[in-house]
């Protein structure tokens, strides 16, 4: 008898792989900047590596020095992450994998938030002088998961 079926195992693998990828990339970039002593590395024509620490949420919002507000935001993130985890294992169809992707990314960011009191962002995508917000590997997976779920909700969900 199998205690864990293939679907659950695959979802746990997704969460684990995204979390490990995110943590390795962050550790590598932080070590790199400690050695190089620069703040910016030109990688490609449209991608720079620029390390900054975000204490707030998306787009640098809710970035306060107050510790109480920081803790409240952290608890809110934990709560939403648990809701996402619940949906990841509740939904047996392919949307469960997208929720697992989101949870893997959020776990990476949450880990840094608790460990370092800030989340390192380092991917600076730009076209010419127009810079997008600096993000990290976890943000990529969270955004991909959310976009896929919105796409599914808009075009494939015929209940509403």
């Amino acid at each position: 008898m199998k205690f864990i079926n293939n679907t659950i195992f695959f979802k746990i693998s997704i969460i684990f792989v995204i979390f490990i990828l995110d943590q390795i990339s962050k550790a590598y970039v932080i070590n790199l900047f400690n050695e190089v002593q620069f703040n910016e590395i030109y990688l490609l024509k449209f991608i720079n590596i620029y390390l900054i620490w975000n204490e707030g949420i998306a787009f640098g919002l809710l970035n306060f020095d107050n510790e109480v507000i920081y803790n409240i935001i952290t608890y809110l993130i934990i709560f939403i992450s648990l809701v996402v985890l619940y949906f990841a294992f509740k939904n047996s169809d392919y949307t469960g994998y997208f929720f697992a992707m989101i949870f893997g990314g959020s776990l990476g960011n949450l880990c840094d938030r608790i460990k370092s009191s800030a989340v390192p962002d380092f991917i600076d995508f730009h076209i010419g002088n127009y810079h997008w917000f600096i993000f990290n590997v976890a943000d990529i997976f969270i955004s991909m998961g959310v976009i896929c779920l919105i796409f599914v909700e808009l075009f494939f969900n015929k209940k509403e």
Binding site: W53, N63, N109, D139, V146
Partner: protein
């Protein structure tokens, strides 16, 4: 629709992207040592700045031209009178040579 709203909330709360402007402002970034930065001297006006002469180009030019005009006329008169005296003394070149031979 409620599900999409929830997904947007997830996107906003769980991601941690930040504007490059915040990074460049140096509030949260790893700054260089502030004690290594040499402090610049404040901008000050040079000493006796107010006592420096102001250029009076127009009035000076007028004065110079007026002086030039006066001297020119005087010089012309003087030159004319001197040439007259010289011509009176010797007449022509033949008389001058004969006078010197004698």
């Amino acid at each position: 629709m409620r599900k999409i709203n929830f997904l947007f909330l997830v996107l906003f709360v769980l991601t941690s992207c930040q504007s490059i402007k915040d990074g460049l402002s140096g509030n949260k970034g790893e700054n260089s040592d502030e004690f290594l930065v040499q402090k610049k001297n404040p901008l000050v006006t040079p000493p006796k700045y107010l006592e420096l002469p102001t250029p009076k180009s127009e009035s000076l030019q007028d004065l110079e031209t007026s002086i030039d005009d006066d001297t020119d006329i005087e010089d012309l008169f003087k030159a004319e009178s001197s040439t007259k005296t010289t011509t009176k003394g010797y007449g022509n070149a033949e008389e001058f040579v004969l006078e010197n031979i004698k």
